[in-house]
Amino acid sequence: MKFAIVVHGAPYSSEGCLLALRFTEAALAGGHEIVRVFFYHDGVYTATALAAPPQDEIDIVSRWRQLHETHHVELVACVASCLRRGILDPTEAERYEKPASNIAPGFLISGLGQLIDATLNADRVVTFGA
């Protein structure tokens, strides 16, 4: 089955982000396809390259990146949500004349159309709320 995953919750603040990660890992292990993971609302905080969680806690950002590297899962963060919250790729940093970009490797910043596209192309869309 083809799943689209939507993440609304910020890592650590919300269990939704972690549940989405574990659901995605389990779906892939079960032989399913992930059309795309779309990070929206506070979920876009997952896409920061600057998270440095304590060593005895799960590194949520790295676990998502591993899914991208191992299974080529597309990780897309909503551009409008990102810009509001200070998650920038080099293009946006330059456009808005900000001093740095901070998008984590493996993540892409793109538009809300990617959410709708994933929804239309999946058999199921699963939203993990905040």
Binding site: A80, G113, T119
Partner: protein, 116 residues
């Protein structure tokens, strides 16, 4: 493909309602979209809200534009409206009210559901 957007968050206190409506507008560019407001989400429909003093955007105006975007099917859960003692005269747009059983049928009649 028929998409159903369900809004269940209150209009203020978080940006979820505003960003959810943005998703509805985007969805309308690609597909046949329906909007259902339920639970605290019905509070989004109260007319003459003025968030100026909150310092947040007055996004309720978006409701008035939905039909221009082709989102013609807009529903509100009747029990939620009753809970907050809201009648048609209190709302910023006309909506069709649904009993709980009808909401279940509405969900079943759509291909995908996006929750906000």
């Amino acid at each position: 493909m028929k998409l159903l957007f369900i809004q269940s968050k209150p209009p203020h206190g978080s940006i979820n309602a505003q960003e959810g409506l943005d998703a509805v507008l985007m969805g309308s560019a690609f597909s046949d979209c329906t909007l259902l407001l339920t639970g605290e989400g019905v509070l989004q429909l109260i007319k003459s809200q003025d968030p100026t003093d909150l310092g947040t955007k007055d996004f309720a105006r978006t409701f008035g534009a939905l039909r221009d975007y082709g989102v013609n099917n807009i529903y509100a859960d009747a029990a939620s409206l009753e809970r907050y003692q809201l009648s048609a005269a209190d709302l910023v747009i006309e909506v069709e009210t649904l009993a709980a059983s009808e909401a279940a049928a509405l969900i079943a009649s759509h291909d995908k559901v996006l929750n906000f």
